[in-house]
Protein backbone atom coordinates (compact mmCIF):
# COMPACT_ATOMS: atom_id res chain seq x y z
CA UNK A 1 0.00 0.00 0.00
CA UNK A 2 1.47 3.35 -0.95
CA UNK A 3 2.04 6.20 1.40
CA UNK A 4 -0.58 8.31 -0.34
CA UNK A 5 -3.22 5.65 0.12
CA UNK A 6 -2.47 5.27 3.80
CA UNK A 7 -2.74 9.02 4.20
CA UNK A 8 -6.08 9.14 2.47
CA UNK A 9 -7.39 6.39 4.78
CA UNK A 10 -6.17 8.35 7.77
CA UNK A 11 -7.91 11.40 6.43
CA UNK A 12 -11.13 9.51 5.77
CA UNK A 13 -11.29 8.33 9.38
CA UNK A 14 -12.33 11.66 11.00
CA UNK A 15 -14.92 12.21 8.25
CA UNK A 16 -16.72 9.04 9.31
CA UNK A 17 -16.83 10.19 12.92
CA UNK A 18 -18.20 13.59 11.91
CA UNK A 19 -21.51 14.71 13.38
CA UNK A 20 -24.28 13.49 11.13
CA UNK A 21 -26.12 16.76 10.71
CA UNK A 22 -28.95 15.21 8.74
CA UNK A 23 -30.12 13.35 11.87
CA UNK A 24 -30.40 16.66 13.67
CA UNK A 25 -32.17 18.28 10.72
CA UNK A 26 -34.68 15.42 10.61
CA UNK A 27 -35.36 15.57 14.33
CA UNK A 28 -35.21 19.29 15.04
CA UNK A 29 -38.57 20.71 13.85
CA UNK A 30 -40.59 18.01 15.63
CA UNK A 31 -38.43 18.24 18.71
CA UNK A 32 -38.70 22.02 19.06
CA UNK A 33 -42.48 22.26 18.65
CA UNK A 34 -43.11 19.21 20.82
CA UNK A 35 -40.85 20.38 23.63
CA UNK A 36 -41.98 23.99 23.69
CA UNK A 37 -45.73 23.50 23.35
CA UNK A 38 -46.22 20.17 25.07
CA UNK A 39 -43.45 18.94 27.33
CA UNK A 40 -42.51 22.14 29.12
CA UNK A 41 -46.11 23.10 30.01
CA UNK A 42 -46.66 19.53 31.22
CA UNK A 43 -43.61 19.64 33.45
CA UNK A 44 -44.88 22.94 34.82
CA UNK A 45 -48.20 21.23 35.63
CA UNK A 46 -46.47 18.32 37.39
CA UNK A 47 -44.47 20.84 39.38
CA UNK A 48 -47.64 22.63 40.40
CA UNK A 49 -48.95 19.44 42.02
CA UNK A 50 -46.29 19.83 44.69
CA UNK A 51 -47.39 23.37 45.52
CA UNK A 52 -50.44 24.78 47.18
CA UNK A 53 -51.60 28.08 48.52
CA UNK A 54 -50.72 28.43 52.21
CA UNK A 55 -51.79 31.65 53.95
CA UNK A 56 -52.41 33.28 50.58
CA UNK A 57 -48.90 32.50 49.38
CA UNK A 58 -47.87 29.73 46.97
CA UNK A 59 -45.75 27.31 48.96
CA UNK A 60 -44.03 24.00 48.43
CA UNK A 61 -46.07 21.34 50.23
CA UNK A 62 -44.46 18.13 49.02
CA UNK A 63 -46.89 15.25 48.69
CA UNK A 64 -49.55 16.82 50.90
CA UNK A 65 -51.88 17.38 47.92
CA UNK A 66 -51.80 13.67 47.14
CA UNK A 67 -52.50 12.78 50.75
CA UNK A 68 -55.57 15.02 50.60
CA UNK A 69 -56.71 13.51 47.30
CA UNK A 70 -56.39 9.90 48.46
CA UNK A 71 -57.47 10.26 52.06
CA UNK A 72 -59.33 13.47 52.80
CA UNK A 73 -63.09 13.08 53.22
CA UNK A 74 -63.90 15.88 50.75
CA UNK A 75 -61.78 14.46 47.93
CA UNK A 76 -61.21 10.76 48.39
CA UNK A 77 -64.70 9.43 47.65
CA UNK A 78 -64.93 11.49 44.45
CA UNK A 79 -61.49 10.42 43.38
CA UNK A 80 -61.89 6.68 44.01
CA UNK A 81 -65.31 6.78 42.38
CA UNK A 82 -63.88 8.44 39.27
CA UNK A 83 -61.00 5.99 39.16
CA UNK A 84 -63.31 2.98 39.44
CA UNK A 85 -65.63 4.36 36.75
CA UNK A 86 -62.70 5.07 34.49
CA UNK A 87 -61.52 1.49 34.85
CA UNK A 88 -64.99 0.15 33.96
CA UNK A 89 -65.05 2.56 31.02
CA UNK A 90 -61.79 1.06 29.79
CA UNK A 91 -62.84 -2.57 30.31
CA UNK A 92 -66.01 -2.02 28.29
CA UNK A 93 -63.96 -0.57 25.45
CA UNK A 94 -61.56 -3.50 25.47
CA UNK A 95 -64.35 -6.09 25.57
CA UNK A 96 -66.69 -4.47 23.08
CA UNK A 97 -64.91 -1.95 20.89
CA UNK A 98 -61.76 -3.84 19.99
CA UNK A 99 -63.30 -7.25 19.24
CA UNK A 100 -65.93 -5.57 17.05
CA UNK A 101 -63.18 -3.59 15.36
CA UNK A 102 -61.15 -6.74 14.64
CA UNK A 103 -64.23 -8.63 13.44
CA UNK A 104 -65.25 -5.83 11.08
CA UNK A 105 -61.71 -5.56 9.74
CA UNK A 106 -61.62 -9.33 9.19
CA UNK A 107 -64.87 -9.19 7.24
CA UNK A 108 -63.76 -6.19 5.21
CA UNK A 109 -60.46 -7.79 4.25
CA UNK A 110 -62.13 -10.79 2.61
CA UNK A 111 -60.84 -10.78 -0.96
CA UNK A 112 -63.17 -9.73 -3.77
CA UNK A 113 -65.80 -8.49 -1.38
CA UNK A 114 -67.94 -5.81 -3.00
CA UNK A 115 -68.83 -2.38 -1.55
CA UNK A 116 -65.83 -2.50 0.81
CA UNK A 117 -65.20 1.21 0.31
CA UNK A 118 -68.75 2.05 1.23
CA UNK A 119 -68.79 -0.08 4.40
CA UNK A 120 -65.45 1.25 5.52
CA UNK A 121 -66.45 4.87 5.01
CA UNK A 122 -69.81 4.35 6.72
CA UNK A 123 -68.41 2.54 9.76
CA UNK A 124 -65.64 5.07 10.17
CA UNK A 125 -68.04 8.00 9.91
CA UNK A 126 -69.01 8.25 13.62
CA UNK A 127 -65.32 8.61 14.53
CA UNK A 128 -65.26 11.82 12.51
CA UNK A 129 -68.11 13.42 14.39
CA UNK A 130 -67.52 15.86 17.17
CA UNK A 131 -68.52 15.00 20.72
CA UNK A 132 -71.01 17.81 20.49
CA UNK A 133 -73.05 16.00 17.87
CA UNK A 134 -72.51 12.48 19.24
CA UNK A 135 -73.52 13.47 22.74
CA UNK A 136 -76.51 15.45 21.60
CA UNK A 137 -77.94 12.93 19.19
CA UNK A 138 -77.57 9.93 21.51
CA UNK A 139 -79.17 11.86 24.30
CA UNK A 140 -82.11 12.42 21.99
CA UNK A 141 -82.26 8.83 20.78
CA UNK A 142 -82.14 7.39 24.29
CA UNK A 143 -84.57 9.96 25.64
CA UNK A 144 -87.91 8.49 26.68
CA UNK A 145 -89.55 11.75 25.61
CA UNK A 146 -88.50 11.69 21.97
CA UNK A 147 -89.21 7.99 21.84
CA UNK A 148 -86.85 6.78 19.13
CA UNK A 149 -85.17 4.06 21.18
CA UNK A 150 -88.42 2.59 22.58
CA UNK A 151 -89.90 2.57 19.09
CA UNK A 152 -86.90 0.72 17.68
CA UNK A 153 -86.91 -1.80 20.49
CA UNK A 154 -90.58 -2.32 19.81
CA UNK A 155 -89.65 -3.45 16.29
CA UNK A 156 -87.72 -6.39 17.73
CA UNK A 157 -90.28 -6.99 20.44
CA UNK A 158 -88.16 -5.83 23.35
CA UNK A 159 -89.93 -2.63 24.23
CA UNK A 160 -90.45 -3.76 27.80
CA UNK A 161 -86.68 -3.82 28.27
CA UNK A 162 -86.33 -0.12 27.51
CA UNK A 163 -85.30 2.12 30.35
CA UNK A 164 -83.94 5.67 30.49
CA UNK A 165 -80.43 4.24 30.67
CA UNK A 166 -78.63 7.56 30.75
CA UNK A 167 -80.67 8.72 33.70
CA UNK A 168 -80.11 5.72 35.99
CA UNK A 169 -77.03 5.51 38.16
CA UNK A 170 -76.77 1.76 37.55
CA UNK A 171 -76.71 1.90 33.76
CA UNK A 172 -75.53 5.41 32.84
CA UNK A 173 -71.83 4.52 32.78
CA UNK A 174 -72.43 1.49 30.55
CA UNK A 175 -74.61 3.57 28.23
CA UNK A 176 -72.00 6.33 27.94
CA UNK A 177 -69.25 3.73 27.37
CA UNK A 178 -71.25 2.12 24.59
CA UNK A 179 -71.85 5.50 22.96
CA UNK A 180 -68.09 5.99 23.05
CA UNK A 181 -67.58 2.51 21.57
CA UNK A 182 -70.03 3.39 18.81
CA UNK A 183 -68.06 6.51 18.05
CA UNK A 184 -64.58 5.01 18.10
CA UNK A 185 -64.91 1.50 16.70
CA UNK A 186 -63.62 2.86 13.39
CA UNK A 187 -60.11 3.33 14.72
CA UNK A 188 -59.33 -0.31 15.62
CA UNK A 189 -61.15 -1.36 12.47
CA UNK A 190 -58.94 0.80 10.23
CA UNK A 191 -55.66 -0.14 11.91
CA UNK A 192 -56.42 -3.88 11.86
CA UNK A 193 -57.73 -3.64 8.32
CA UNK A 194 -54.47 -2.06 7.16
CA UNK A 195 -52.53 -4.75 9.06
CA UNK A 196 -54.58 -7.55 7.49
CA UNK A 197 -54.09 -6.16 4.00
CA UNK A 198 -50.36 -6.04 4.51
CA UNK A 199 -50.20 -9.81 5.02
CA UNK A 200 -48.65 -11.11 1.79
CA UNK A 201 -50.81 -13.25 -0.48
CA UNK A 202 -48.10 -15.92 -0.51
CA UNK A 203 -48.58 -16.57 3.19
CA UNK A 204 -52.32 -17.00 2.72
CA UNK A 205 -51.83 -19.15 -0.36
CA UNK A 206 -49.36 -21.35 1.48
CA UNK A 207 -51.91 -21.76 4.27
CA UNK A 208 -54.56 -22.71 1.74
CA UNK A 209 -52.26 -25.26 0.14
CA UNK A 210 -51.93 -26.80 3.58
CA UNK A 211 -55.70 -26.82 3.91
CA UNK A 212 -55.89 -24.05 6.48
CA UNK A 213 -58.90 -21.95 5.53
CA UNK A 214 -61.76 -20.01 7.06
CA UNK A 215 -61.85 -19.66 10.83
CA UNK A 216 -58.72 -21.64 11.54
CA UNK A 217 -56.88 -19.58 8.94
CA UNK A 218 -57.93 -16.42 10.71
CA UNK A 219 -56.93 -17.63 14.16
CA UNK A 220 -53.80 -19.56 13.23
CA UNK A 221 -52.32 -17.44 10.44
CA UNK A 222 -53.74 -13.94 10.39
CA UNK A 223 -54.25 -13.26 14.08
CA UNK A 224 -50.61 -13.93 15.06
CA UNK A 225 -49.52 -11.68 12.20
CA UNK A 226 -51.70 -8.77 13.32
CA UNK A 227 -50.87 -9.08 17.02
CA UNK A 228 -48.57 -6.03 16.95
CA UNK A 229 -51.48 -3.99 15.55
CA UNK A 230 -53.77 -5.33 18.27
CA UNK A 231 -51.16 -4.30 20.81
CA UNK A 232 -51.18 -0.80 19.37
CA UNK A 233 -54.96 -0.47 19.45
CA UNK A 234 -55.06 -1.75 23.03
CA UNK A 235 -52.62 0.83 24.26
CA UNK A 236 -54.35 3.57 22.24
CA UNK A 237 -57.64 2.57 23.85
CA UNK A 238 -56.10 2.64 27.31
CA UNK A 239 -54.59 6.07 26.81
CA UNK A 240 -57.71 7.44 25.14
CA UNK A 241 -59.98 6.16 27.90
CA UNK A 242 -57.93 7.53 30.75
CA UNK A 243 -57.85 10.91 28.97
CA UNK A 244 -61.53 10.85 28.13
CA UNK A 245 -63.59 13.83 29.10
CA UNK A 246 -65.58 15.29 26.21
CA UNK A 247 -68.25 12.67 25.73
CA UNK A 248 -69.19 12.46 29.39
CA UNK A 249 -69.16 16.24 29.48
CA UNK A 250 -71.49 16.64 26.49
CA UNK A 251 -73.84 13.81 27.47
CA UNK A 252 -74.00 14.16 31.25
CA UNK A 253 -72.55 17.60 31.91
CA UNK A 254 -69.61 18.56 34.08
CA UNK A 255 -71.20 16.96 37.13
CA UNK A 256 -71.17 13.58 35.33
CA UNK A 257 -74.54 12.58 36.66
CA UNK A 258 -76.71 10.94 37.67
CA UNK A 259 -75.17 11.14 41.09
CA UNK A 260 -71.60 11.04 39.84
CA UNK A 261 -72.12 7.62 38.30
CA UNK A 262 -70.40 8.57 35.06
CA UNK A 263 -67.68 10.65 36.66
CA UNK A 264 -64.27 9.75 35.24
CA UNK A 265 -60.86 11.25 35.90
CA UNK A 266 -61.19 13.74 33.04
CA UNK A 267 -64.43 15.24 34.32
CA UNK A 268 -63.14 15.26 37.87
CA UNK A 269 -60.06 17.13 36.67
CA UNK A 270 -62.20 19.62 34.80
CA UNK A 271 -64.42 20.37 37.78
CA UNK A 272 -61.47 20.64 40.10
CA UNK A 273 -59.25 22.67 37.82
CA UNK A 274 -61.74 25.18 36.46
CA UNK A 275 -64.46 25.06 39.04
CA UNK A 276 -68.10 24.38 38.44
CA UNK A 277 -71.16 26.13 39.79
CA UNK A 278 -70.47 26.81 43.48
CA UNK A 279 -67.16 25.01 43.54
CA UNK A 280 -64.17 27.28 42.94
CA UNK A 281 -61.34 26.27 40.64
CA UNK A 282 -58.37 24.79 42.46
CA UNK A 283 -55.20 24.90 40.40
CA UNK A 284 -53.06 22.86 42.77
CA UNK A 285 -55.56 20.03 43.25
CA UNK A 286 -56.25 20.10 39.51
CA UNK A 287 -52.55 19.66 38.87
CA UNK A 288 -52.52 16.86 41.45
CA UNK A 289 -55.28 14.96 39.66
CA UNK A 290 -53.53 15.60 36.35
CA UNK A 291 -50.38 14.12 37.87
CA UNK A 292 -52.25 11.02 39.04
CA UNK A 293 -53.69 10.57 35.54
CA UNK A 294 -50.21 10.98 34.18
CA UNK A 295 -48.87 8.25 36.49
CA UNK A 296 -51.68 5.81 35.66
CA UNK A 297 -51.13 6.28 31.96
CA UNK A 298 -47.36 6.05 32.39
CA UNK A 299 -47.78 2.71 34.18
CA UNK A 300 -49.99 1.31 31.40
CA UNK A 301 -47.71 2.44 28.62
CA UNK A 302 -44.60 1.15 30.40
CA UNK A 303 -46.27 -2.23 30.76
CA UNK A 304 -46.98 -2.23 27.04
CA UNK A 305 -43.55 -1.03 25.93
CA UNK A 306 -41.37 -3.06 28.25
CA UNK A 307 -43.37 -6.26 28.76
CA UNK A 308 -45.99 -6.84 26.08
CA UNK A 309 -44.24 -5.38 23.06
CA UNK A 310 -40.94 -7.09 23.89
CA UNK A 311 -42.60 -10.48 23.98
CA UNK A 312 -44.41 -9.97 20.74
CA UNK A 313 -42.89 -11.59 17.69
CA UNK A 314 -42.52 -9.44 14.63
CA UNK A 315 -42.49 -10.78 11.12
CA UNK A 316 -40.82 -8.96 8.32
CA UNK A 317 -41.89 -9.78 4.81
Amino acid sequence: MSQAELQSIARAEPIRRQIRWHILVFLLPALVIYSAVMVLPLIETLRLSLFNVVDGQPAFVGLANFKVLFGDARWASDFWNALKNNFIFFVIHMLVQNPIGVALAALLSIPKLRFVGFYRTAIFLPTLLSFVIVGFIWKLILSPIWGVAPWMMDLVGMKSLFAPWLGRPGSALIAVSLISVWQYVGIPMMLIYAALLSIPDEVIEAAECDGVTGWSQFFKIKLPLILPAIGIISILTFVGNFNAFDLVYTVQGALAGPDGSTDILGTLLYRTFFGFQLQLGDRSMGATIATVMFLIILAGVSLYLFVIQRRMRRYQF
Binding site: M38, P111, G117, Y119, I123, I137, S198, P200, V301
Partner: protein
Protein backbone atom coordinates in the same frame (compact mmCIF):
# COMPACT_ATOMS: atom_id res chain seq x y z
CA UNK B 1 -58.69 -17.76 -4.32
CA UNK B 2 -60.47 -20.63 -2.68
CA UNK B 3 -64.01 -21.50 -3.62
CA UNK B 4 -65.21 -21.39 -0.05
CA UNK B 5 -64.74 -17.65 0.05
CA UNK B 6 -66.87 -16.92 -2.96
CA UNK B 7 -69.79 -19.13 -2.02
CA UNK B 8 -72.95 -17.02 -2.25
CA UNK B 9 -74.33 -18.01 1.17
CA UNK B 10 -71.16 -17.09 2.90
CA UNK B 11 -70.68 -13.80 1.14
CA UNK B 12 -74.28 -12.80 1.75
CA UNK B 13 -73.82 -13.53 5.47
CA UNK B 14 -70.76 -11.31 5.42
CA UNK B 15 -72.73 -8.58 3.68
CA UNK B 16 -75.56 -8.99 6.14
CA UNK B 17 -73.24 -8.50 9.11
CA UNK B 18 -71.58 -5.49 7.51
CA UNK B 19 -74.89 -3.92 6.50
CA UNK B 20 -76.22 -4.40 10.02
CA UNK B 21 -73.26 -2.61 11.53
CA UNK B 22 -73.36 0.07 8.85
CA UNK B 23 -76.96 0.80 9.83
CA UNK B 24 -75.95 1.10 13.48
CA UNK B 25 -73.17 3.49 12.49
CA UNK B 26 -75.20 5.64 10.14
CA UNK B 27 -78.59 5.77 11.81
CA UNK B 28 -77.90 8.58 14.32
CA UNK B 29 -76.28 10.70 11.63
CA UNK B 30 -79.17 10.07 9.30
CA UNK B 31 -81.57 11.02 12.07
CA UNK B 32 -79.77 14.32 12.68
CA UNK B 33 -79.71 15.26 9.03
CA UNK B 34 -83.33 14.42 8.21
CA UNK B 35 -84.57 16.24 11.28
CA UNK B 36 -82.53 19.33 10.48
CA UNK B 37 -84.76 19.80 7.43
CA UNK B 38 -88.02 19.53 9.33
CA UNK B 39 -90.28 21.88 11.16
CA UNK B 40 -90.15 21.90 14.93
CA UNK B 41 -93.42 20.05 15.37
CA UNK B 42 -92.41 17.34 12.93
CA UNK B 43 -89.11 16.80 14.75
CA UNK B 44 -90.99 15.81 17.85
CA UNK B 45 -94.04 14.14 16.36
CA UNK B 46 -92.30 11.96 13.79
CA UNK B 47 -88.57 11.88 14.45
CA UNK B 48 -87.98 9.00 12.03
CA UNK B 49 -89.88 10.35 9.06
CA UNK B 50 -87.94 11.84 6.16
CA UNK B 51 -88.96 15.42 5.38
CA UNK B 52 -92.13 15.58 3.32
CA UNK B 53 -93.39 18.70 1.52
CA UNK B 54 -95.66 19.30 4.50
CA UNK B 55 -92.93 19.08 7.14
CA UNK B 56 -90.00 20.42 5.10
CA UNK B 57 -88.59 23.52 6.75
CA UNK B 58 -85.28 25.30 6.43
CA UNK B 59 -85.84 27.53 9.46
CA UNK B 60 -82.92 25.91 11.28
CA UNK B 61 -80.48 26.69 8.49
CA UNK B 62 -81.88 30.20 8.20
CA UNK B 63 -81.24 30.79 11.90
CA UNK B 64 -77.74 29.35 11.70
CA UNK B 65 -76.73 31.33 8.63
CA UNK B 66 -78.40 34.48 9.92
CA UNK B 67 -76.90 34.31 13.41
CA UNK B 68 -73.38 33.04 13.18
CA UNK B 69 -70.69 33.67 10.64
CA UNK B 70 -70.40 29.99 9.77
CA UNK B 71 -68.53 30.58 6.52
CA UNK B 72 -65.75 32.19 8.53
CA UNK B 73 -65.84 29.39 11.12
CA UNK B 74 -65.46 26.81 8.37
CA UNK B 75 -62.56 28.72 6.93
CA UNK B 76 -60.87 28.89 10.33
CA UNK B 77 -61.36 25.19 11.01
CA UNK B 78 -60.12 24.32 7.56
CA UNK B 79 -56.96 26.43 7.85
CA UNK B 80 -56.13 25.11 11.30
CA UNK B 81 -56.77 21.47 10.35
CA UNK B 82 -54.95 21.47 7.02
CA UNK B 83 -51.89 23.37 8.20
CA UNK B 84 -51.59 21.26 11.36
CA UNK B 85 -51.87 17.99 9.41
CA UNK B 86 -49.25 19.15 6.93
CA UNK B 87 -46.88 20.07 9.74
CA UNK B 88 -47.53 16.83 11.65
CA UNK B 89 -46.95 14.70 8.57
CA UNK B 90 -43.78 16.44 7.41
CA UNK B 91 -42.09 16.89 10.79
CA UNK B 92 -43.41 13.58 12.09
CA UNK B 93 -42.14 11.62 9.11
CA UNK B 94 -38.75 13.31 9.33
CA UNK B 95 -38.38 12.47 13.00
CA UNK B 96 -39.69 8.93 12.49
CA UNK B 97 -37.12 8.42 9.75
CA UNK B 98 -34.30 9.67 11.97
CA UNK B 99 -35.38 7.31 14.75
CA UNK B 100 -35.97 4.21 12.64
CA UNK B 101 -33.08 4.60 10.22
CA UNK B 102 -30.04 5.78 12.15
CA UNK B 103 -28.23 4.37 15.12
CA UNK B 104 -27.01 7.25 17.22
CA UNK B 105 -26.39 7.86 20.85
CA UNK B 106 -29.65 8.58 22.63
CA UNK B 107 -31.85 7.08 19.91
CA UNK B 108 -33.91 4.99 22.33
CA UNK B 109 -34.16 7.84 24.80
CA UNK B 110 -35.29 10.17 22.02
CA UNK B 111 -37.90 7.66 20.90
CA UNK B 112 -39.21 7.34 24.43
CA UNK B 113 -39.17 11.09 24.94
CA UNK B 114 -41.24 11.60 21.80
CA UNK B 115 -43.54 8.68 22.65
CA UNK B 116 -44.37 10.16 26.04
CA UNK B 117 -46.61 12.61 24.22
CA UNK B 118 -48.88 9.79 23.00
CA UNK B 119 -50.02 9.03 26.50
CA UNK B 120 -50.21 12.44 28.09
CA UNK B 121 -53.07 14.62 27.02
CA UNK B 122 -51.68 17.99 26.05
CA UNK B 123 -54.68 19.40 27.91
CA UNK B 124 -53.01 18.72 31.23
CA UNK B 125 -50.63 21.54 30.42
CA UNK B 126 -53.33 24.01 29.43
CA UNK B 127 -52.60 26.66 32.06
CA UNK B 128 -48.93 26.84 31.17
CA UNK B 129 -49.74 26.75 27.45
CA UNK B 130 -52.11 29.67 27.89
CA UNK B 131 -49.46 31.61 29.81
CA UNK B 132 -46.95 30.91 27.05
CA UNK B 133 -49.34 32.00 24.31
CA UNK B 134 -50.15 35.19 26.21
CA UNK B 135 -46.45 35.91 26.56
CA UNK B 136 -45.90 35.29 22.86
CA UNK B 137 -48.91 37.42 21.91
CA UNK B 138 -50.54 34.49 20.12
CA UNK B 139 -53.86 34.45 21.94
CA UNK B 140 -56.80 34.67 19.54
CA UNK B 141 -54.71 33.68 16.56
CA UNK B 142 -54.98 30.56 14.47
CA UNK B 143 -51.21 30.16 14.89
CA UNK B 144 -51.70 29.29 18.55
CA UNK B 145 -54.12 26.51 17.63
CA UNK B 146 -51.86 25.23 14.85
CA UNK B 147 -48.88 25.06 17.23
CA UNK B 148 -50.84 23.19 19.88
CA UNK B 149 -52.36 20.72 17.42
CA UNK B 150 -49.03 20.10 15.74
CA UNK B 151 -47.46 19.31 19.11
CA UNK B 152 -50.46 17.12 19.96
CA UNK B 153 -50.34 15.17 16.69
CA UNK B 154 -46.58 14.66 16.40
CA UNK B 155 -46.00 11.88 18.98
CA UNK B 156 -48.58 9.48 17.55
CA UNK B 157 -47.49 10.30 14.01
CA UNK B 158 -43.86 9.54 14.87
CA UNK B 159 -44.86 6.33 16.67
CA UNK B 160 -46.97 4.96 13.82
CA UNK B 161 -44.67 6.16 11.03
CA UNK B 162 -41.54 4.71 12.59
CA UNK B 163 -43.34 1.37 13.00
CA UNK B 164 -44.03 1.46 9.27
CA UNK B 165 -40.61 2.79 8.32
CA UNK B 166 -38.94 -0.18 9.96
CA UNK B 167 -40.66 -2.34 7.37
CA UNK B 168 -39.08 -0.46 4.46
CA UNK B 169 -36.35 -2.69 3.07
CA UNK B 170 -32.79 -1.79 4.00
CA UNK B 171 -31.54 -3.07 0.66
CA UNK B 172 -33.53 -0.41 -1.12
CA UNK B 173 -32.08 2.39 0.97
CA UNK B 174 -28.56 1.01 0.70
CA UNK B 175 -28.97 0.72 -3.06
CA UNK B 176 -29.91 4.39 -3.04
CA UNK B 177 -26.81 5.22 -1.01
CA UNK B 178 -24.59 3.29 -3.41
CA UNK B 179 -26.14 5.28 -6.26
CA UNK B 180 -25.03 8.43 -4.48
CA UNK B 181 -28.33 9.69 -3.11
CA UNK B 182 -28.05 11.98 -0.10
CA UNK B 183 -29.86 11.02 3.11
CA UNK B 184 -32.43 13.71 2.33
CA UNK B 185 -33.05 12.28 -1.12
CA UNK B 186 -33.40 8.79 0.36
CA UNK B 187 -36.01 10.11 2.75
CA UNK B 188 -37.99 12.23 0.33
CA UNK B 189 -37.69 10.10 -2.82
CA UNK B 190 -37.48 6.52 -1.55
CA UNK B 191 -38.98 6.20 1.91
CA UNK B 192 -41.72 8.83 1.88
CA UNK B 193 -43.52 7.42 -1.19
CA UNK B 194 -43.37 3.94 0.35
CA UNK B 195 -45.01 4.96 3.62
CA UNK B 196 -47.75 7.00 1.95
CA UNK B 197 -50.51 4.65 3.12
CA UNK B 198 -49.29 5.07 6.68
CA UNK B 199 -49.17 8.82 6.16
CA UNK B 200 -52.78 8.78 5.01
CA UNK B 201 -53.74 6.77 8.09
CA UNK B 202 -51.91 9.23 10.32
CA UNK B 203 -53.55 12.14 8.50
CA UNK B 204 -57.03 10.74 9.11
CA UNK B 205 -56.29 10.05 12.76
CA UNK B 206 -54.69 13.45 13.28
CA UNK B 207 -57.48 15.29 11.57
CA UNK B 208 -60.31 14.00 13.75
CA UNK B 209 -59.30 15.35 17.17
CA UNK B 210 -58.19 18.64 15.65
CA UNK B 211 -61.42 19.27 13.80
CA UNK B 212 -63.57 18.24 16.73
CA UNK B 213 -61.62 19.91 19.50
CA UNK B 214 -63.56 22.29 21.65
CA UNK B 215 -61.11 22.89 24.44
CA UNK B 216 -58.30 24.86 22.83
CA UNK B 217 -60.46 27.04 20.57
CA UNK B 218 -62.42 27.98 23.69
CA UNK B 219 -59.32 28.82 25.71
CA UNK B 220 -56.80 30.04 23.14
CA UNK B 221 -58.94 31.51 20.37
CA UNK B 222 -62.48 32.30 21.49
CA UNK B 223 -62.60 35.57 19.53
CA UNK B 224 -65.18 36.01 16.81
CA UNK B 225 -62.51 36.16 14.08
CA UNK B 226 -60.85 32.88 15.08
CA UNK B 227 -63.79 30.69 16.14
CA UNK B 228 -63.78 27.18 14.73
CA UNK B 229 -66.85 25.31 13.55
CA UNK B 230 -67.02 23.08 16.62
CA UNK B 231 -66.83 26.04 18.97
CA UNK B 232 -69.37 27.89 16.83
CA UNK B 233 -71.81 24.96 17.03
CA UNK B 234 -71.22 24.56 20.76
CA UNK B 235 -71.99 28.22 21.40
CA UNK B 236 -75.03 27.80 19.22
CA UNK B 237 -76.31 24.94 21.34
CA UNK B 238 -75.72 27.06 24.41
CA UNK B 239 -77.68 29.99 23.04
CA UNK B 240 -80.37 28.11 21.16
CA UNK B 241 -80.71 25.13 23.43
CA UNK B 242 -84.45 25.02 22.89
CA UNK B 243 -84.22 25.84 19.20
CA UNK B 244 -83.80 22.29 17.97
CA UNK B 245 -83.99 23.28 14.32
CA UNK B 246 -81.04 25.59 14.62
CA UNK B 247 -79.00 23.10 16.65
CA UNK B 248 -79.64 20.20 14.28
CA UNK B 249 -78.84 22.40 11.29
CA UNK B 250 -75.60 23.59 12.88
CA UNK B 251 -74.59 20.02 13.65
CA UNK B 252 -75.42 18.86 10.12
CA UNK B 253 -73.31 21.68 8.73
CA UNK B 254 -70.45 20.68 11.01
CA UNK B 255 -70.43 17.10 9.66
CA UNK B 256 -70.12 18.15 6.03
CA UNK B 257 -66.55 19.49 5.69
CA UNK B 258 -64.92 16.75 7.72
CA UNK B 259 -66.62 14.26 5.45
CA UNK B 260 -65.10 15.97 2.43
CA UNK B 261 -61.63 15.98 4.04
CA UNK B 262 -62.03 12.32 4.90
CA UNK B 263 -63.07 11.35 1.37
CA UNK B 264 -59.98 13.10 -0.01
CA UNK B 265 -57.64 11.30 2.39
CA UNK B 266 -59.40 7.98 2.22
CA UNK B 267 -58.79 7.82 -1.56
CA UNK B 268 -55.11 8.19 -0.85
CA UNK B 269 -55.43 5.54 1.83
CA UNK B 270 -57.12 3.05 -0.50
CA UNK B 271 -54.73 3.76 -3.37
CA UNK B 272 -51.77 3.25 -1.06
CA UNK B 273 -53.12 0.06 0.44
CA UNK B 274 -54.12 -1.53 -2.86
CA UNK B 275 -50.80 -0.70 -4.52
CA UNK B 276 -49.25 -2.81 -1.78
CA UNK B 277 -46.59 -0.31 -0.90
CA UNK B 278 -46.47 -1.36 2.76
CA UNK B 279 -46.03 -5.04 2.01
Amino acid sequence: MSKARTSPIRSSLVHLALIAYTLVALFPVFLTIINSFKSRNAIFRNPLQVPTPATFDLVGYQTVLGQGDFALYFQNSLIVTVVSIAAVLLFGAMAAFALSEYRFRGNTMMGLYLAIGIMIPIRLGTVAILQGMVAAGLVNTLTALILVYTAQGLPLAIFILSEFMRTVSDDLKNAGRIDGLSEYAIFFRLVLPLVRPAMATVAVFTMIPIWNDLWFPLILAPGEATKTVTLGSQIFIGQFVTNWNAVLAALSLAILPVLVLYVIFSRQLIRGITSGAVK
